[in-house]
Symmetry: C2
Subunit: 262 residues, 2 copies
Amino acid sequence: MRERNGSKEERQEQILEYILQYGSISLQEVVQHFECSEATARRDLEALEKAGRVIRTMGGGAKPAGLVSGREIPFHEKQNKLYREKESIAQLAASLVEEGDVIGLTGGTTTYLIARALKNRRNITVVTNAVNIAMELSENEDVQVVLTGGMLRSKNFELCGPLAERTLEALNIHTMFMGIDGFSVEQGVSTYSELEANTAKMMMKRTERTIAVFDHTKAGRNSLFQVAPVTALYGIIIDEEPGEELRERLASEQVKVFVTAK
Amino acid sequence: MRERNGSKEERQEQILEYILQYGSISLQEVVQHFECSEATARRDLEALEKAGRVIRTMGGGAKPAGLVSGREIPFHEKQNKLYREKESIAQLAASLVEEGDVIGLTGGTTTYLIARALKNRRNITVVTNAVNIAMELSENEDVQVVLTGGMLRSKNFELCGPLAERTLEALNIHTMFMGIDGFSVEQGVSTYSELEANTAKMMMKRTERTIAVFDHTKAGRNSLFQVAPVTALYGIIIDEEPGEELRERLASEQVKVFVTAK
DNA sequence: ATATTTATGATTGAATATTTCATAATGATG
DNA sequence: CATCATTATGAAATATTCAATCATAAATAT
């Protein structure tokens, strides 16, 4: 190949660098900067777009949304699978919230949608350990947003660890909506991550009423780390009627079951 | 005018809504959705682009970077005024950081640049109350990022209030870089906001060495809320040699003065 | 030494954008 | 109420940018 000024990879890295600094780049800037043809410039931008690191504009490229220094922030959108189900769960959850409430939200897709459903409320307080949820809600001045402290987990922008737990000690939450990865009669609610499980546990301790929110694919499944037995729950919100056994057990434990309308 | 389905404003709001949900929209989608001509669709996207709420792509529009639900996150770029000065301050600050250090960073443009300068370091811990700084650094797994808790101030994404202060009580910071709005011999360091001043004060209490960072436009100026007298500082980093009087006073107080190379 | 792969540049037709003008609806003015 | 200016819109012409294809040269493999 006839490389003039460095390899394709270097060029693309530099384009990225440029975009990160200036926000965008024009095709002509690429051409002049690297003394390459338009075809090459376009191909570079195309490759970067495919990698999700650049959004192509008319005559150039720009920084894509939802990326902070090249990483994606989980601001979930409708593309997500089970969006409709999760959205209906979120709507139901939001309907349980009243003015003046102090709400707790763990991290997760469903809880993020609950946050969005609460976005235009007045006079509520939301406590969360998820940075993306906090940012979404902070737009509204009428919603007081409290972020727990803690170590920032880069993968999902959740705050965890002893510091998060220490912060929670100072708070009293009325109703908490807990996103989980697994739910069963025997094991109760569980998550994939130990850190998240611990933070959720701590959050529960500071909460009057804990409501687990999850879609039907999580029901009857167990994840690695148990957060709490079903008896510790005030209620669950789910998008499908639970099975006979589960329903009976929940009834006997006085756990409320909210099922979304189809 | 011949309005078919609602006004221009409504249409543009709906386009925005759509983009917020799906991430992007095509010209044809706009045309079909609103039953308008391509010209109108383009004009709408053009107007939204001008307002900074949409980034125009080839054949459509998309969510611009740095916007969360329509608001800008302060991820500062080279356009900022005094960028060169602040960058040089940041570089100097970063050069004072060694492996294993526990660093504190308040919110602000300069401290954000320090964070960026520290981004590729290994084995350091950064404590901050600024969400954007935390997010920037969390990309690197080798930097441990600790976010203080607290109320999220929507304007600048800083965490403040009693909870932030409570979190800090559990931490011991080695060197803290403090961004400020004013610096003078008499008043010491000061900021515009009382909340920020309080949080900074608390952070200082938990810090061995506090270094104030600011550009020359801040020197000799006082802001409303005092954070600390000069005697409480370990040092300052500034981009211009301070005046005679200031220099003498700082020398007598054993406050180190770091001036960036031109 | 030859073949293969890869990166690049050039060309051309297609898609998209910009500009300009015409028209219809709305509101203001006398 | 007639007239005029303003605004929103659509249509058409022009200009720009893009995508696809092919050719070529360098690097790599056989």
